[in-house]
């Protein structure tokens, strides 16, 4: 490789930065508008009434919610923030947050299309299955953590505040007034999440334009190197889960398990998401989640290398 590994251009950075903003803002806006409606119209105790009492079953249900309520990774954070405030257990929320960008029909379809001719059905099943499994494992891990170690103080307060509001049912305020309140809640979430989104997109754009990606190619020869290399690349590129499979499929020199690791790790954790998650979770938890997912997905994919060429 003759080119330097790092070469920065402010024009390239601005271009990549803007393109991700223009693509991502609609999904964040949708998520925050939805979060505003949840805030005002979803009865606080409904979640707890609907969820199974068994913690394991509740986490698993969180993992499959993505099929029913598909959300992309950018838009989901404001939604789970409100769902947590409305009584969704944090463990189920984490499982939903991690699984939904993968376990949904759009991602399944795009993965199948991208890997046509490369064992598309098996690969798509593995991606969805592993995504669900890892999300549930992460959710179960959160079950054992004190809530104060997971949620930011402001979010924790919103959970505490929403608990003693009686039956949590609809207030007698006029519908229009509640719509205005929903708008305000949505706007507040939008502004909060956008701060982190902008920081994350800035860091991701810096790396995706300035770092020479051929740097990763020599690592493709060994599964033990290829898997972490592809997960690192997924973290840097911060791609959308609806299209990342098309990019992953082009890394032909990398083994299939490394591409699988790319496609499972990327929608769960990347530079942009690390910042967005910080709108809800403590920094320590986000760091632990990033490391935990990296290690867990890496080890599982290494194990899968036995069955996947």
């Amino acid at each position: 490789m003759n080119a330097p590994w790092f070469s920065f251009s402010v024009q390239d950075f601005s271009y990549a930065f803007l393109s991700v903003l223009l693509e991502g803002v609609p999904f964040i806006l949708l998520g925050t508008l939805l979060s505003g409606l949840i805030d005002q119209f979803l009865p606080a105790r409904l979640m707890t009434r609907l969820l199974p009492r068994n913690a394991f079953a509740a986490v698993c249900l969180g993992g499959v919610l993505g099929i029913v309520f598909p959300m992309c990774e950018c838009g989901i954070v404001p939604v789970i923030r409100r769902l947590i405030a409305k009584g969704l257990p944090v463990s189920s929320a984490v499982a939903y947050m991690l699984a939904a960008p993968i376990v949904n029909p759009i991602t399944a379809f795009s993965t199948y299309a991208a890997f046509r001719g490369q064992g598309a059905a098996e690969f798509t099943s593995l991606r969805l299955g592993l995504g669900f499994f890892v999300a549930v494992l992460a959710g179960l891990a959160v079950l054992n953590l004190p809530i104060g170690a997971v949620l930011k103080k402001t979010i924790l307060e919103s959970v505490t505040l929403s608990c003693p509001t009686g039956d949590g049912g609809p207030s007698p305020r006029a519908f229009l007034r509640r719509l205005v309140s929903a708008m305000e809640a949505g706007v507040r979430d939008f502004l909060d999440v956008m701060v982190y989104f902008i920081l994350g997109v800035g860091v991701a754009s810096l790396f995706s334009t300035a770092v020479n990606q051929e740097l990763f190619l020599p690592l493709s020869l060994d599964d033990r190197l290829a898997i972490p290399a592809m997960m690192t690349l997924a973290g840097i590129l911060s791609l959308c889960s609806s299209s990342d499979a098309f990019i992953a499929a082009t890394f032909v020199s990398f083994p299939a398990v490394a591409k699988l690791a790319f496609l499972v790790f990327g929608p769960m954790m990347d530079l942009k998401l690390a910042f967005i998650y910080s709108a809800v979770f403590t920094r320590k938890f986000v760091a632990a989640l990033a490391i935990g997912l990296f290690v867990m997905i890496g080890l599982l994919c290494l194990r899968l290398a036995i069955v996947l060429p």
């Binding site: 024009q11 990549a16 803002v25 999904f27 806006l29 299309a113 299209s243 098309f246 082009t250």
Partner: protein, 265 residues
């Protein structure tokens, strides 16, 4: 900021975003950033943000002041506006050579995002002709300009290099291809080649992959990197490195304007 000032600030941030998103869509500048399928979402978001901005100003805070909008500090306000406006001003709406080189060139059709091997071609009928509308009818995808050159995209020649039937349609034919100039750092033993590059996009410019074909000129030419050029010449597919590589033996290379659709999809 005080409560009411925060409300104005929040409204201002939404208005800035709404205006910028609407501007990108209405000016069609968005075509240089997003796949067409995503552009409408940006337009809708721009409109919704503008409406939200106005709605914030028109609704009475009263009770909502307690739990509606939280106070906005100066740092988030600046972070939400300055980078967006600065990037809008600074972005040239295309990648420069640095980012393109950092992403690596796709010069093999199998490495292209979304590529799947072609299906079996239709067979000629009893008269030896090909049924109209089948993949083997070259007139369906080979369009000629007034001078008789086949107007092709870089990606067409990449496909042709990997597919024998399509290769026959192009080989030794005169073609006209538009793309961006980049020096050929590899596969250029005599120093008389350059890369003709286009960006292939799945969602947005951030996932763009540069595709490149070689152009051989006599004498060798040098232009500023990423200059848009129109190349006319003969298509050839020599075997290099164990596979067919698309190389245009150029008759002329002229600078040209960027096409309306700068991406390939």
């Amino acid at each position: 900021m005080t409560g009411i000032l925060s409300r104005f600030a929040a409204s201002g941030v939404l208005m800035v975003w709404g205006i910028v998103l609407s501007y990108f869509y209405l000016s069609n500048r968005i075509a240089s950033y997003l796949h067409p399928a995503f552009q409408i979402y940006t337009a809708i978001s721009g409109g919704v943000l503008l409406l939200l901005s106005l709605a914030l100003l028109l609704t009475i805070p009263a009770e909502s002041a307690k739990h509606g909008l939280t106070r906005m500090e100066i740092f988030p306000f600046l972070l939400l506006t300055i980078p967006l406006l600065a990037a809008t001003k600074l972005s040239p709406s295309n990648f420069g050579a640095t980012a393109v080189m950092n992403r690596g060139m796709v010069d093999n059709i199998a490495d292209l995002p979304g590529f799947s091997p072609p299906l079996d071609p239709a067979l000629p009928n009893a008269e030896g002709s090909v049924k109209e509308g089948t993949m083997m009818d070259p007139s369906l995808y080979l369009k000629k300009n007034a001078d008789g050159y086949i107007v092709a995209e870089a990606i067409d020649l990449l496909y042709a290099a990997g597919e024998p039937t399509m290769r026959e349609d192009f080989e030794n034919k005169q073609v006209e291809v538009t793309g961006q100039f980049l020096p050929a750092l590899t596969g250029n033993p005599n120093g008389d080649r350059f890369n003709l590059t286009r960006l292939f996009v799945m969602c947005c410019a951030a996932d763009a992959r540069p595709v490149a074909i070689s152009v051989q000129t006599n004498p060798a030419i040098d232009l500023p990197k990423m200059t848009w050029v129109k190349v006319r010449g003969k298509a050839s597919f020599p075997v290099e490195g164990g596979r067919h590589m698309p190389v245009i033996i150029a008759e002329s290379t002229t600078e040209t304007d960027a096409p309306e659709e700068s991406f390939l999809y």
